[in-house]
């Protein structure tokens, strides 16, 4: 009897701590509640909107998406563009980041600042800069013609190519930063161990360093891909009407046709796509390498 009471008394506070918030701490919950309201409510409203038409519940927006081949084309283009940009970002980003990580700390910091400064510059400014560079008579074409590498100016602005170039530039920091922190955490002795066991520098990189950097590559790649899926400014300006992404279609539906329902449905599709990507990457990264 006495032991039971004692045990009950001891257990009660422990159980309390896990379950409820002490009234003294309620004020700290205010920001969380506000954020939830501001984020979650429009979100739910968006979802609801996509399932309504003319005041009643309806699947007409999704039905239209399935029936109209242009939607499938836009979705396909968006995914293709995002995949291509992410692939290029990964191929360029891995050696760049590896190079930065191997520098002494002061130089690595300087190089990271070099990555960060364009990152802090307005997206719009950078996109316009690319428009200038990629034009028919822009800097790049002029140089290539002057050097005799090409006869006629390449068509880079207002195209899929130009959009890709611009987006790769914008996405690179989003890939490099998480990868840098992942690579920094890799124990330098791992590569040394591989070397002492007989691996050449490149073997040690492929067999040991790269596998250990995989979670960082996945995280950075996913970030880049997800941002690409919803990207608006750069494809709009650099694509010059020759590239249409989901976000551009959403914008059209809202501003030109006031089709809030159709836009919401596209938004929901984009969201589902992003969630699926997260789950896929979660499944891809081996559990033992997750931090």
């Amino acid at each position: 009897m006495t032991t039971g009471v004692a045990a009950g008394r001891a257990a009660a506070p422990a159980a309390d701590r896990g379950r409820s918030l002490h009234p003294r701490h309620w004020p700290f919950a205010v920001p969380a509640v506000l954020v939830t309201l501001v984020v979650l409510l429009p979100f739910l409203w968006l979802g609801l909107l996509s399932f309504t038409d003319g005041g009643g519940l309806s699947l007409v927006h999704y039905q239209r998406m399935l029936e109209n081949p242009s939607y499938a084309a836009i979705l396909g283009d968006t995914v293709l563009l995002s995949l291509l940009v992410t692939a290029i970002v990964i191929v360029l980003g891995i050696p760049t980041t590896y190079f930065i990580v191997r520098q002494p700390p002061w130089l690595a910091t300087l190089m990271l600042a070099g990555v960060a400064i364009p990152f802090w510059t307005s997206l719009l400014v950078r996109t316009y800069a690319w428009m200038v560079l990629l034009q028919r008579r822009g800097l790049i074409n002029t140089w290539l013609v002057d050097l005799g590498i090409i006869d006629r100016p390449l068509r880079m602005a207002n195209s899929f190519t130009g959009t890709t170039i611009g987006m790769v530039h914008i996405m690179l920091p989003f890939f490099i930063f998480p990868l840098y922190s992942a690579m920094r955490q890799i124990d330098p002795d791992m590569v040394k161990a591989a070397r002492s066991l007989g691996a050449s520098p490149s073997r040690a990189f492929w067999d040991v360093f790269l596998p250990l950097a995989t979670p960082g590559i996945m995280a950075g790649g996913l970030l880049s891909f997800v941002l690409c899926l919803g990207f608006y400014v750069t494809p709009q300006l650099l694509g010059g009407g020759n590239v249409t992404t989901i976000s551009m279609k959403i914008q059209q539906n809202v501003t030109m046709y006031s089709e809030w329902g159709a836009s919401s449905a596209l938004g929901v599709v984009l969201l589902v796509l992003v969630v699926l990507c997260f789950l896929a990457v979660q499944g891809l990264v081996p559990r033992r390498l997750r931090q």
């Binding site: 791992m190 040394k192 161990a193 070397r195 007989g198 691996a199 250990l212």
Partner: protein, 357 residues
């Protein structure tokens, strides 16, 4: 088979800091050599220079008759056990141990046999399919050793491989490593800052300080015939008493002429090194020739289980430390705190070194 290492005039500077200055050493084939020293003494730099991860400014390192300083680490054929083991977490135990064989294009069947053999050597057979994160610290240590010996390197280097283990496991692993060395007959160079570990494992102990080798000897000689105050102080819990100047008055030196000739002559400021277990408690007034005598007062008495440590205060305020086993008969000879006590150190147990400038 086992190889010898010959190091000549090795120096390495980091800015103004000399990590190694003019280090020369011969390590015969098949020996177990421990590099012992405080942090910053250069022992790890020396080890990493042999492995190929530190690049000395000057000097030479030869394995048998081959100069290796110009060789990349992967061309040196040296097995290294790192302090934190550096096992690859994305590979199983088996894949880790097989990795050096895979790099050497050993055929799969032979590879499997050699991996099995190496795992047996460290008593880890049956763990091949495990993941690294599923292993305990001691098991990881064994796998790291298996991976470093599986390709039968000429030399095995170990960088404080037991420092992450708790005391009991560390002592078990020391004995295992010693046996492994006896079975394999390879040359092993082993870095540690743990004096007991260095003495237990080694055929030869190399004591380093400030980038220099200060003494290289057998464990027994290192302990019983330290050649400098640094070595005597770093290894063991010695007390030091000056044998010259006014402070020498506290020591009655009834030593033989032979001892004076061998140990004292030629030293400007001789310093008596007193190992705590070599000090005897003798009856008051005893003064047989052939010993140093000290009159002291018993101070603090610390009971440590297997040992009892006594701090005795000399007339001039100096403290000497003595220790005894805790057998009944040994304990009963220790006077209570505050009591006067006469201590004797036989000249054959005595070491005299030159006081550092």
């Amino acid at each position: 088979m086992a190889s010898s290492i010959t190091i000549r005039g090795l120096s390495k500077h980091y800015g103004a800091f000399a990590a190694l200055s003019d280090v020369s050493i011969d390590i015969p084939a098949g020996q177990f050599v421990t590099l012992l020293g405080p942090s910053g003494s250069g022992k790890t730099t020396l080890l990493m220079s042999i492995a190929g991860f530190a690049h000395p400014d000057r000097g030479s390192i030869r394995i048998d008759d081959q100069e290796i300083l110009g060789l990349e680490p992967d061309k040196r054929d040296i097995g290294v056990v790192f302090q934190n083991y550096a096992l690859f977490p994305h590979m199983s135990v088996e894949e880790n141990v097989a990795y050096p064989l895979k790099l050497r294009r050993v055929p799969a069947a032979e590879r499997a046999a050699r991996v099995k053999h190496a795992l047996q050597a460290v008593q880890m057979e049956g763990f091949g399919a495990r993941r690294i994160h599923e292993l305990s610290g001691g098991q990881r240590q064994r796998i790291a050793v298996a991976r470093a010996i599986v390709f039968e390197p000429r030399i095995i280097l170990m960088d404080e491989p037991l420092s992450a283990l708790d005391k009991k496991l560390r002592e078990e692993m020391q004995i295992e490593l010693k046996h492994l060395h006896q079975r394999l007959g390879r040359t092993i160079v082993y870095v540690t800052h743990d004096q007991k570990e260095a003495l237990t494992l080694a055929d030869q102990v190399v004591v380093m300080d400030k980038g220099r080798i200060v003494q290289k000897d057998s464990p027994r000689a290192i302990y019983e015939q330290p050649r400098s105050r640094f070595v005597a102080d770093f290894i063991g819990n010695s007390s030091f008493l000056p044998l010259s100047g006014p402070a020498a008055a506290s020591v009655e030196a009834l030593v033989s002429d032979g001892f004076r000739r061998r140990q004292l002559d030629g030293l400007a400021r001789p310093l008596l090194v007193i190992r705590p277990e070599k000090l005897e408690i003798v009856p008051a007034g005893e003064s047989e020739p052939g010993s140093f005598y000290l009159d002291a007062t018993v101070g603090e008495v610390l009971f440590q289980g297997d040992l009892v440590v006594v701090f005795a205060q000399l007339g001039n305020g100096e403290t000497v430390r003595l220790q005894r086993g805790t057998r009944r008969t040994a304990l009963s000879t220790i006077p209570p705190e505050g009591a006067p006590v006469r201590l004797a150190l036989h000249e054959e147990d005595a070491v005299v070194v030159e006081e550092d400038a």
